[in-house]
Each structure stands twice: as C-alpha cells, then as structure tokens.
Amino acid sequence: MKRSLKRSLSLVFIAGAVLGGFFGGKMFGKQMRQAHGRVLAWNDSHAFDSALDDSNAEVPPAELFRSVLDKVQHDYVGSAASVSDARLSNGALSRMFASLNDPRTTYLDPTLYQAREEALKGSFYGIGAALAIVVTHKEDVDFRYLTVQAVMPGSPAEKAGLQPGDHLTELNGHWIIAYSVLADYDRALQKTRAEAQHHPADPSRQANHVVTNIRQGLTVSKALPLLLTGKGKPLQLTVERNGQAAPFHIRLTTGLTRVNPVTYQVLDKRVGYLQVRQFNAQAASAVEKALDGLDTDLKGLIVDLRGNPGGVKADAKSGVDGYDCALTLLSHLTPGGTVGILEARPGRRSPVTLQAVERPVSLPLVVLIDAGTANLSELVAAGLHDRRRARLIGAHTFGDDVLPLFAGLKGNGGVEIDTAHLFTASGVDLNRGLRPDIPIDAHLSDTHSDPALKRALRALLY
C-alpha cells in the first residue's frame, strides 16, 4: 500500500514537473516573441516580404499603411520626438483628407477638434464665429474663401462688425490659402492673375508676388487654430464683402463667447418667442421643455432662426448632434410627414419623414431668418414653410446644403465629413438658400430696434 501510494505520488510529481516545464517554456517563448516581436512582425507584413508574397495578389491598403508605420517605428533613424504616434497620425490624416480636395471634408487635429466640439456645444473660443469654406467661380477659376457663416452674439467678431458672408482673405497680413494644399503653382498663378485686375501692377511682378505670398501664407489648417481657439490674442483680419469694392481690415481680440442655444419668452403677453441659436443635444431638450405644453391661448409663435449656423450629424452620446435636434423642433411644430430630403450620394435621395409628437403646436407660426441662417436651420425653415405651416420673415438665408458628419478618432483628433446634402421636401437644393416671404432690410446686430421681430408680431397679432 505504502509503496503504491509512494509510486502514485511520484507519478503525480513527475507529471506535474513535466507539465510545469511545458507551460513554463510556453510563457518564456511568448516573452521572447514579444521582445523580438518587431522582427517577426516585419516578416508578417506582407507588403515588404517579397518571398512570401503571392505576386498577383493585391495587398490590402491597410496592410500597406501598417507596414510603413512599422518601418518608420523600427527602422527609421531620427530624433525621438519626430516619431511620436501623435505626429505620425496627424501627418497621415491631414494629408489623406487634403487629397480629397473637398473643403467640407477635413481632418481636425486634437486642438481644432476640441475647439470645434466646444463650439458645437455653445462655447466659442477665438473670434466667436462659425466659419466654412465656400467655393465661387470667377473668370473660369474656382475660388475658395474662408467665409463667416454666423456671428455669435457678444463675440469679438460681432463687436468688430463681421457679418455672415464675409470672406476672410488675410490674417495678420498673411494670405489665407483656402485652396487645397496640394494645389500646383499654375493654379495659384491663375488666381493671382484674376486678382491682379483689382490692383494695376506691373504684370511681370505678378508671379513673384504669388510665390512670395504662397510661401508666407497660412493654409486653412494653420489659420483656423488662430481664429477658433484661445482668448486674449489681438488679430487683424482682411475682409472682402459683397457690395464693397475693396477689401478692408478689422482688428479684434479673441475671447470666449458662450451661447445659450435656446431661449423662450412670451412677448406682449400674447405671442411666444422661441430663439434657437444652435442645434445640439442641449438645444433639443430645451426645445422640448419650451414647446411641450405650450399655452394654447397664445396668438402665435415666433421661431427665431437668425444667426443659427445649423449643426452636424454626430454620435448621439456626444451631445453635439444637431440633426436630431432639428427634427425634434420640426416634430413639435408640424403634424408629421415629409419635411425635407436627404441626398446621401449624388442622385441617391430619401425623404426625411417625421412622426409628430402627441400634441404638436398648432398656433400660427412665423420663422425669422437672415444671412446667418444656415444648414439645418434652413432645413427647418423650409420644412415649415413648404407645408404652409409658417411664413418666413427677414432676409435671404446663407445657402448651405452640406450636412457634416462629426466624429472623434479616440485621441487622434477628429473628422468632419460631408455626409449628405439637404433639400426641401419639394426637391429644391438648399444651397440656393431661402427667400423670405416678407423681406426686411436689417440684421441681428441692430440691438435698438428689431424691425423683423416687429413685423413678425404684427403678422401674428393683426
């Protein structure tokens, strides 16, 4: 008995030792692989390993990228700082997006991404305006301008007199280069020739002028951080405005402008006044709060969308999605149905159809619009107007049909991608903008009198 127990124990012991050896070895092997992983990984990267490569198979693009990244991280010799992941990531994405040559589809580095996110939530740093790149045609040449879309109330931009539609052409004396960074010299020369007609100058100096200005110019990606981030910095801007022959300069100091997205009050005890300055999650709940259970004894409701640059499509959890907010507003004011059209790819359109809330507002409606009414605001205004639900009072809207998709890249900044174009329910492209039923010649910064608001009250009360 004793002997067989001893024997069993010995066997168990031996088995344990052998298994222990196996797993110990395995762990050690894994460690070795991790330590020298880069060598093995090189062999794994199909792009570079000619021996294993099936010469006819196409290497997937992501594998190309990964192989190059690998080489840079392990074979490149340079200063340690230059090979930081953040810089490599930034460089790769900036250029990849720039190559699309689409002014509305862009990579945002971490600084710009954060500034944009905060602006979408109502905190505008920098000059306190919403900017976009707008394309116009002049003498067979495509010009792109960095343009003011909307000016936030109380912002440095407002104080300096900037208006929606203003083109920003220079910052602190440097050209703002809004065409693709990959544009070639010939295209730049074309632009200068067209511009030179404003300035009678020796034609042979034009080219030198172009070269110098491009060299010293600021690309949009360099200009935007100066315009949209930080506070307390003095800036000088050169502005071109429709209707003014010559460009002019303005000076301002950057700051933080906070925008309350929604305010509601009752005017003259009889008319509701809902001002929506931005579309985001905060605005959506504020709109619901204001309109749920709205006093049905009111004579009417004014929805003020002046100076509202619209919003973006984004992840619901981000708090910056404006699309759902716009639909929320519409669903409270209409009895449901098709309120607009989304074109996800050229020619591929689908209706935007809503189900109204249980008790939508059925009061007479007036929507106030102006040149700073853009994008989703135009969709809302059109959605209410086309169904004869509301009259539009004010000035012609901006004309921005691009719905941007806004997404973060988890520590690598984010992107803004042109994801759809906006049309009215009757199929009119919103890049034409909307005409007011009752035009009023004034804009929002006129604080002492508000002719458009007065006209709206008159329309609802009399």
């Binding site: 092997g29 790819r345 973060g408």
Partner: protein, 492 residues
Amino acid sequence: MAAYSSRKPFPFARWAVIPAVLLAVCASGMIGFTNGLLSPGVRTHELGPSAQSVGGEGPEVSGGTESGEAAVQGADPLDAYAMSLDLLQRRYYGARIDSHRARTLTYEAIRGMLGSLRDQFTSYLDPGEWQQMETMTEGDFGGVGAFMLQAGDKIKIDRPMPGGPADKAGVKPNDILVSIDGKAVRGRNVDDLFDLLQGAPNTVVRLGILRGKQTLVLPVTRAVIEPVIVQHWMEDNRAKIGHIVLTEFNRKSITQMNAAFADLERQGVRALVFDLRFNPGGLLDAAQDVASVFIPENSKPELHNNVVIIHHGDGEEEGLPLEPEQHKHGQLPLVVLVNGSSASASEIVTGAIRDYGVGTIIGERTFGKGKVQTLFEMSHGRDGGLRLTTSLYYPPKHYDINFEHDDDGNRIPGTGGIVPDIVVPESTQWKEDFEDKANDNQLQTALIFLRARLEKKSMAEATQLAQRYADTEKPARTALDIVPGKPHSTTR
C-alpha cells in the same frame, strides 16, 4: 503461506530515474517554448472598426494588443487611419471610395506620415515614380545636365553644364526651379525631384523657372550625360602643387583618383589640393577607398583605423575601416577644399582626413548630411516604395554632423556640416567653374597655404598667411546667401 510474486525487475537502474525525469521536463519545456514563440495573436491590430451607424454607437476601436504594447492614450496612427477610411467608405457624400480610391488615399496617408518626420531625405515614391527610379538606375537614361540645390526654401538650378540639355534650352545659373511638367516642386524631396528630371534620352521635360521677376517655362530635351568623375592639374608648376577634383563617389572614383595621383607623381608633385566642392556623395565603399589614399594605418590608435562610424536604428554601431592597400602614394602636405554642396560621402572623407590630422580643410561649412537612406520596395514595386533614413554616420571622432531643422523641416542655417580649419566664403566673381582659377579665391587660399608649408613655415604661420589672404578679398556674399545647398550630381 502466501508466496510473494516476483516482480519484473525495474527496466532501468534506479540511478537513472532522476536524470530521466529531468530530461522529460526539459523536453516538454522546449516544446512549450516553441509553442509560445510561434503562437499567433501577438502584435496584431484589428483593422477597421465594427460597422456602426452614426446616430447609434460611435465608431469603435478594437485596439490594444496582447503584448500590452498599446500606445499612449490611444494615439495609434493605424487605428486613426483605419477609422477614417472606414467613415469615408461608408458615409462620404462626395465620391464613392472604391478599392482604387482607397489605395490612392492610403498612398497620401503614407506621404503625410512620412512628411511629418520633417526629414527631407525620407519619402514615399508612388508606383509611377518608383518605376521611373528603377529605369534610371538600370538602363541608359538621359539627364538635363544641371545641379539642383536647396537654397533656403527655394530650389535653385546650379551650374547648367555648358552645352548640356538645360544650357541649350536656355537655363541660366541661379534660376529658381518652380515646377517640373506643371507640378510644383515646393515641399518635395530633392532626391525625388532629381528622379523626375531623369528620363529616356530625347524626351522633353518642361521646367518652370523663376528668373528675377520673370517666369518662364523651358522645354528641355534630355540627353545621355557622360560623367567626368576626376579632373586633375599640376596647379602650381613651380611649387609642384597638384589639384585633383573628385565630382562624386562611385565605382570609378578610386581608379580614376589613383590614376590622377600617379600622373601627378610622375610630374614630381610635392603637395596636393584635393577638391570636394559640389561633390554630393555616393557609395560608402568608394569613400572608404578614397579616404584610405590619404590616411595611413595605425596613425591614431584611439580612432581604431575607422573611416566612419555607422549608427543603426537599433542603437548598434559599427566602424568601417581603412583599406591600407589604397595608401600607395605616401604622405604629402594636403588641403581638402569643401563648400556647402559637399555632402554625405564627401563629409565622411573630409571628417576622416581632419580627425586623423593628415590634411587642412579650407572653404565653407559642408552640407551636413550624415544620414544613410535605404530603399524599401512595396509589393514588388506595384505599390511604389519607401526611401527611409535608416542609419546615421559619424566621423571617426564620433560627433554629429547632421544639420538641425525647425518645426517645419526647414534647415537652420549655420548648423551641421564640418566647419573648415580656414573659412573662405566663395567669391561672387567665381563662375563656379574649376577652369576659372583666377577668381577661385578658395583655391588661391589653398595654394598660399601649401606654398607656405612647402617653404617649411609652421602650421600656425601658414594658416595665418592663408587666412589673411582670404579676409582681404571683398566680402563674398551676405550671411543670408551662404546657405548650404543640396547638390545633385547630374553626372551619372
């Protein structure tokens, strides 16, 4: 009485048990080790986020690796690239991102990634450019017959070869190159631009030029350029001072140099000016051979007979040694002439001669390129290839000659390179032609120095005489003009 059954004797001796067990444990350990080593799943990134529609979950990253090598704060370029490409493929209005488009976008991402390194020698060549580069190195090709230099942030065309294609087309010295076949050169790697200038003989390349205030486009018809690697003269026949010019380091360099040296010896040469101005570099072994011509073995034990020290990416360093059989011509008083267009292998040789104390360096600060690039082909060239800086090199005394650059990748003037023992800025009168000796103040300074040495004057005195000569020349250029250029030898 029970009978004890007899057991079979244990087949192995008792003493063998323990070693047998140990053997078994070791064997299983090795099997386990191999298993762990080969098991997959380490160091893979999962590509592409799980498809999510916006409005629901945001794009997700399945990141992190088993090895725990996860980068800082999720700033993983591969994840960022993959997420972005995925979003564009699924949600972009402007264009359908098919597989071809995804590929070209990826090339751009690669270019951007390499561009962020701010290393003017590191770049990506797309399939077309890679093809062109391969044709160039393999077959007969034509060039335009002009150097390209990086002058500040401009690309200057330097010294069009008299009678060469560029010269015939009307290209003049100091013309600024603005575009090649309509494509702007700004921001591009000079090596890549050089490859674009090459092409089949009799083909035309359109050079966009800025000359003063004028812009021109000049069509240049490429032709095969015959290289002149070495030129030599008995520069001062009375003092017997010879002058050897080496234009680049290639396979012919050492034989032509030895032939030139031998010819000068036949004429009784007593001192030598070795001219490396405008020499952009070339092969490393050519540099080893040429340096060995001037440097004897074992003259400075602390330098271990190294011509150059190569520093690899993994931190390892190796010294490349002198080739003693090349040291056939004995020791002569020696001056090495250099300028801002002396780069790479030229700097290796200059640094070695200086560190071993066998010559005096005269001229202008050299270019400052102590970097070696390796070419990596991708998918057999179907996806182009990489030009990547993979090693640094140091002169024997192990100091860094690479220039510094600012955040935009622009070279900071006055950094890097080898500073001559006697600094002589190039005279504005000199036509940058080795035949134009009267106006070549750097050459004249070298001759004055060597004459003094041959007259048995001390180093200090000879240096003083030479420096005084150099200083009395009219100021050559302002500080801003002395910008080291990146030369390119057309002579291939």
